[in-house]
Symmetry: D2
């Protein structure tokens, strides 16, 4: 049975595996202090046009979120996130575990807006008992979001302008960043992204690497002692060079964006087929995850041949179903899925 249920079902792109194999018996220093990491840092700073950034390599997404938030906030500070955001849902309380409150904000499309943050900030800032509230200090967004939607350049610029005005850090979770960078609908350059936030990370795990997330810290305030805080969070790999080798390969010849672009195109092809057949979607997604509404029978039928993710029961009895492609998705299987959709 072929899986369209997630974007981390396979290992890594062959080019990356090849680099790991080629460097396997090299001897290097540990903890990210090796030439491969140094090279990867340089490439990333070039790719995102942020020469003064600090780049750190961690292993996974939850770990990266908790480490960045832990490093950036003082004890009483809190982070805004959309209700469906990863830190508010599938991290088992990781942010609270490092002592911080997630302030969930409603969102139909998974995104937060400049207006929303402005209004929430004013609510806090004008509350006579604000000393008794957890203090908002960061806005956490995902690009693309957990439900596939994507910020436009204008949306991000507006959001960041509000953040700066209010003294809030803007943190972008890019666990699936590749699927945006290579999306036809994307109107942002990598440099635009880096210029409109305080810290972001480039997801490797879901974008062609075996594992790994590259944290890019733009704002100097968040930089001091990040390595020690990461170590304290159990987030520093002994053989850090495994991350450097992988990210170095990913940011060579545009591999990262290129392989993810293909994943996005496959998802859009499936989306078009679904639209053609009259299916509705939970939200409009221009990236590699499509959240489509199906009857139980339709879901059951497709599940005979494909693993899809049943996400939620809708009030009308239908299902919200995730169809997910990735850098690894097989074209033939996409065609087979589309054919089956058309037969439904």
């Amino acid at each position: 049975m072929y899986r369209f249920n997630s974007d981390y079902t396979e290992g890594c792109h062959p080019a990356i595996l090849e680099r790991l194999a080629a460097t396997n018996m090299d001897q290097t220093d540990g903890y990210g202090l090796d030439p491969y990491c140094e090279e990867a840092r340089t490439k990333i700073k070039e790719y995102f046009s942020c020469p003064n950034a600090d780049v750190h390599f961690l292993v996974g997404g939850t770990q990266t979120n908790l480490t960045v938030i832990c490093a950036a906030l003082r004890p009483h500070q809190a982070v805004f996130g959309a209700v469906p955001s990863h830190i508010n849902t599938h991290e088992a309380g990781a942010i609270e575990h490092v002592g911080h409150r997630v302030l969930p904000l409603p969102s139909e499309d998974g995104k937060l807006t400049a207006e929303q943050i402005k209004s929430e900030w004013i609510k806090y800032d004008t509350d006579p008992s604000r000393e008794h509230w957890a203090q908002p200090k960061m806005v956490y967004i995902s690009q693309p979001t957990e439900i596939g939607s994507m910020y436009s350049k204008k949306e991000l610029q507006d959001l960041y302008a509000v953040c700066k005005e209010a003294g809030l850090y803007l943190f972008i979770d890019g666990a699936r960043l590749g699927y945006v960078l290579g999306a036809p609908a994307n109107d942002m350059t990598p440099a635009d992204l880096a210029a409109n936030c305080d810290v972001f990370y480039i997801g490797g795990t879901k974008c062609g690497l075996l594992f790994g997330e590259a944290v890019v810290i733009i704002n100097d305030e968040i930089k001091p002692d990040f390595r020690t805080i990461a170590k304290q969070c159990g987030a520093i790999m002994a053989k850090g060079r495994l991350l450097g080798v992988q990210f170095g390969a990913a940011f060579t010849d545009d591999l990262y964006t290129r392989i993810c672009a293909k994943g996005t195109q496959q998802a859009l092809k499936i989306k078009q087929a679904l639209l053609d057949c009259g299916f509705k979607f939970v939200t409009d997604s221009p990236t590699n995850q499509q959240f489509v509404i199906m009857t139980p029978a339709q879901f059951a039928k497709l599940s005979e041949e494909f693993a899809l993710s049943h996400i939620a029961y809708l009030p009308d009895g239908n299902y919200s179903v995730r169809i997910c492609t990735s850098w690894a998705t097989d074209d033939a299987q996409v065609d087979k899925l589309i054919a089956m959709i058309k037969e439904l």
Copy 2:
């Protein structure tokens, strides 16, 4: 200007001050290991008919909430609370500071219902990715609630039945418990309360003492090493006997319930006057806090003579205003306020 803006504007009831003065130069052991604390524990266990309970005396409400939750939960466990509940609002992230997530549930009247908890529990328990969620393990309610409403015996019994079925602890914050115990509309005995939860606390700070909250632990699972965890949370008073003396006096001759009953009666008298004049309320409150809806002009007028709490701006331009009585409220001032209300 006379204050109706909170129930902790004065010191303590004269009978309690007298006992503090009378015992002032006695020499005792510290940390709650003195005869006054022992006597107060006995009286409380009798009053609430819970002979096997452990009783501990802490200083304030936020401190008590964080200590109880810290002692009861494992790291990944979370606590349900109503959106307007104290732990979800005015504790500056204290629960997250000890590592736990507050799971806020919507509530019009400040109360949680058995149906709500049941449905939330099922949602969690049937989620295929529940391992990635903070695990619900406790339900936190306040009796009376932060907006003055009150659980009936039936409501509490139903809620506790659901909790037991789901393996959730029920924790009752009784920061204003006296104003329920002495409320005409209350249909629960102290024994009913203790029989329908795992742990609760009896508020002293707002109910006639200088300060102090008495935690009553019913469930054996929450008992071990509570004193050490409280010490670790900075919640053990060196001169613990100050709490024993006060609670001992409060639970002598029914003082606690008696003085709070008067506060509740005064609030109900004001409420009746407001109802007579056609005022609407945020929620129906049978206790010492009344949340009434006023025009800005009405609020401004009353504020010339009285300190009231402006709680919120309502969408229609009106204000939500808290009028609060206590054990200390002066009858003449109540009459004066009522007269002024009638003139509005």
Copy 3:
């Protein structure tokens, strides 16, 4: 049986109780935002000649230590303390509970020296793997120490100079500060103390108040949002004015230093008697706590009439015994104890 076993066996000095009684039915705002607190802050800033300090009133010592350390340090930062220091012994892991490591340093007399800190700092700073160590950022000392000894002005100045050089905060726990301020051997003015640290606190609980510790923050870096962090730690009293009233009274007419001076004098009288009889001491103490070495038989004999603290079994079979006086100690009982010592 009369107690010489601790300095928190009684309530508070009559003058303080009187002020509490006199202000009992006054109505004020909560959380330390009342005129009594404001007045006490002014008096304290005058007394210690630190007009730009922030002064906050908390309830107890452990609470104060954990709140100050929590407010001052980033997650990976640690605090040096003497092995016998309070944060390293009797706080049940409170500092670790807020996430920070205590770095214990050996000390015969309970004090830390400038040389010791300098050497420890160099050890850290020159360690090639220092990124993997908890980062020292604060030095915690007690004046007087937990075993009665006292820093001279020179010692404190030297220590603070090293701290400033290394970028370490110096935090002085003054839980028993009164017994130093009024000690004949003390060569520091209150202003000297405030001028040679980043933050200190003035102990009330053991120095004539019912309870309460006044945190005095000198260093601007530690000031922001201290109230919110204290709230989050459960350390803000609802009726904050109880602390303001007490500290206001204590810093009127030099009451604080005066009543503690008497306690110290009584201890020194007992010490002299012990010296005259040939007793040895664990360390030389010029303050209200005397740690004397006794045979089991001597301890048993004195214990027939007095409660003393048996602190430790010594290798030679003798006991280390604490004899503790306070603002409340009765002269007649001191004489009786001395007479009994002479009979041993």
Copy 4:
């Protein structure tokens, strides 16, 4: 320059890389719920004769230590560790970050003894103020230790007997376990190890894998919800199968023990050469790390050809130097190093 400075300078054993490559494009579920992990769990439980154990795969050592300790302890509980133990030194305060105190115990050879734990436990258990101490609940040891020494079967049995008597968990950090399992001087079977502790982990990172540590939980009390707590600590890999594949390969045909045995033999060969030349050692090590005492000149000379770790300056002006072999060490380089030692 060839490195003898650590055992994580290379990638992984070719057989493991081969398995990763062979399974790279397989599609599996995430988070360790895949057939490769299941197979690896079965092999590990067989190898250590612990059929009822729970086996979890995490990424690195610090992460594993903090997750296990976090899962096992209640908030006020603490863990004994030797002064040179990893949790007490190079984890940047990770254990404190999850709220727990490390109780450091002196150790010349890196090991803790049954007598030491017994005496420390009695000291705690008989202290009249033990409620104010962080409560010891776990003993953490490393096998082999951080300085190369090794527990005998008798030593481990005695230690575990004391732990059980005192109600302490025994946790064995096996970051370098392979170098003991394959050591000539080892008198324990894998089954002996599993039978004499509550939880241990099998180090992969330093023993032939790219990364990964396998936690084996023997004691039922530590098992519940471990996966959720690991998720909360950021310690669950999305592509968990990478760990299953590696550990599965490592525990096939005894690969793990076999390749590490060779590393140990190489170290012992170097050790013998050093002994023959009259060198002294910091402690006697029968495993892959040798801590030898050298003059600065000797160290400088060897450093011309080899990377060694300068660990510490000794009081007599000499250096403590670590020479470290691993599964990856080249025989020719060992011979070259030995030749050079003999020339010194």
